[in-house]
Amino acid sequence: MELHQIRYFLLLSEHLNFTAAAEACNVSQPALSRAIAQLEGELGGELFRRERKLTHITDFGRAVLPALRDCHQANLSVKELARDYHQEGQAPLRLALSRSFDMDVLSPLLEELGRAFPRIEIGVFRGTAREITDRLRNGDVEIAVAGQLSYEWDRIETKRLFEEHFGLLIRRDHKLARSEIVELLELAEERLLGCPDCPITDALRTKLKQVGTSRVIGHEVSAIEDIPPLVDANFGVGVWPTDRGYDRDLLITHVDGFQMSRWVQVYTVFGRAHSAAARTLMNLLRARDWSRLLQHDATPTELVA
């Protein structure tokens, strides 16, 4: 496929009119038709059908559209980065992260960005899925790294990064500390400690209600770092990402038959003008070897004596 063929295809799929698309592409109509015909030849199927004055995109055209759009978008990013790399221009980057996402995972990527864009200026927002979704929608952030958004719309671009597993953080002298697995019913008397609107905590709460726990007592903290000290202070069992370290002498246990995990994805919005820094971060996140985060086991960092 040639770059100009894809560009013409994308513009024609928007305009659905050869004359208008040729104008938008700044080429003659025969040149546009020829490029589309060549692309059809290579792809082995008809992309558009002309009926009298109307142009329709075919099912085949619709099927290949997302892939060609991705590829074209990636091409724009490559060019943009090559142009702005090591340049002194302003590089704003507004980013939203779920509360459980560990900044230590992101920092090497940000270090790369800092080298690429010496004048980068970042704004990091942490919040609930709802808050993150609203900010992404309103254009307050360019990129979000989070679990499931609270709602999606057709221009949202989503890529999976890794599966985030959670466990229950407990004190060593807790009665549930005797095994690595606890029964759901054993949690009936426990107080749950988690972040507000955390889907994992909510799912566990719902499950406990289903098995007959009348009232689930919970503590909420908006900063996830507050969970280990509170667990240590006997404020219940904490809902905690198992890949994340903590600096207290605590244990992680799991609930028998109840999977506490979710996919962490990177989100951005199609069609918006994104900074080169945002596009680059998106690529660095996607390219990263996420199996390494998962391989690393959740041994607590050494207690400072």
């Binding site: 496929m1 040639e2 770059l3 894809i6 060549q38 030849g41 290579e42 792809l43 082995g44 290949v64 997302p66 892939a67 060609l68 991705d70 590829c71 074209h72 978008q73 990636a74 091409n75 724009l76 990013s77 490559v78 060019k79 980065l81 090559a82 790399y85 090497p108 990527l109 790369e112 080298r115 690429a116 890529k159 999976r160 680059t280 690529n283 660095l284 996607r286 390219a287 990263r288 070897d289 996420w290 199996s291 390494r292």
Partner: protein, 242 residues
């Protein structure tokens, strides 16, 4: 033959071809012959795809000899951003587009590149491989090749498209690849089924293309002897033929 035994048999053939004491072209041809023998249906699908690409002139508009290669900045297998000018800093460079760690022809070529790498380095040159895969796979490819060269992630083939090298895999080929255990969507972190035409560019210190091998028949690659010859010739600046 079921899919598992096909994959195993192919892996055995690939290992043999990788270590064969023969020119790269012969090793690649040997593997292609093996595929025709053990999976004739698969080979037919490949032939059809290659024929379609060739008749449409795919890859013919990739950068020509004497032109400047477009710049790139892409992450390597360790997540560090690497740029084209950085590789040109010390001398000539070989830029090779590969389909991915799973591709037996790429494995054979990567091993051949690893073998000539000391000689390339001795002459101040660098080898760089570009694939559309994420780091878990570029890292694996590097380890398996035994090379020192960086393997860069060109996600969604954005840079390959810049050089008119991106191709879309059709449903027939996709199904054949998936059955063979090559679900590239997992390797590329997308559902696009786009691959680069394997291509090799030998650049001089000014970033000008001095040697070029682009063939939509992915079973054929630039011969390493040609590569080394071109690198030697590229020591002197390019003068367009009159």
């Amino acid at each position: 033959m079921n899919a598992t035994s096909l994959v195993e048999e192919l892996a055995t053939c690939t290992r043999r071809c990788k270590e064969m004491d023969a020119p790269l072209a012969d090793r690649l041809a040997e593997l292609a012959a093996d595929v025709h023998r053990i999976a004739p249906d698969f080979a037919d699908i490949v032939d059809r795809m290659v024929h379609r690409l060739q008749s449409g002139g795919a890859g013919s508009t990739a950068p020509a000899i004497g032109t400047q290669l477009a710049p790139f900045v892409l992450p390597d297998e360790n997540g560090h951003l690497r740029s084209l000018p950085e590789f040109m800093g010390t001398g000539n460079a070989v830029i090779a587009f590969h389909r991915g760690h799973w591709c037996p022809y790429c494995q054979i070529e990567a091993r051949a590149l690893a073998r000539i790498e000391p000689e390339v380095h001795a002459n101040g040159g660098r080898i760089v491989i570009i694939t559309p895969e994420t780091q878990a796979y570029t890292r694996r490819m590097k380890t398996e090749s035994g090379g020192q060269f960086p393997i860069l992630s060109d996600l969604d083939s954005g840079y390959a498209l810049e050089l008119n090298l991106a191709i879309k895999i059709n449903d027939e080929k996709r199904n054949a690849m998936t059955s063979a255990g090559w679900d590239i969507s997992a390797f590329q972190n997308n559902d696009d089924w786009i691959l680069p035409i394997p291509a090799t560019f030998v650049l001089d210190r000014a970033g000008v293309v001095r040697g070029r091998f682009v063939d939509p028949d992915y079973r054929r690659r630039m011969d390493v002897e040609d590569m080394l010859d071109t690198l030697r010739r590229a020591q002197v600046p390019f003068t367009p033929a009159a």
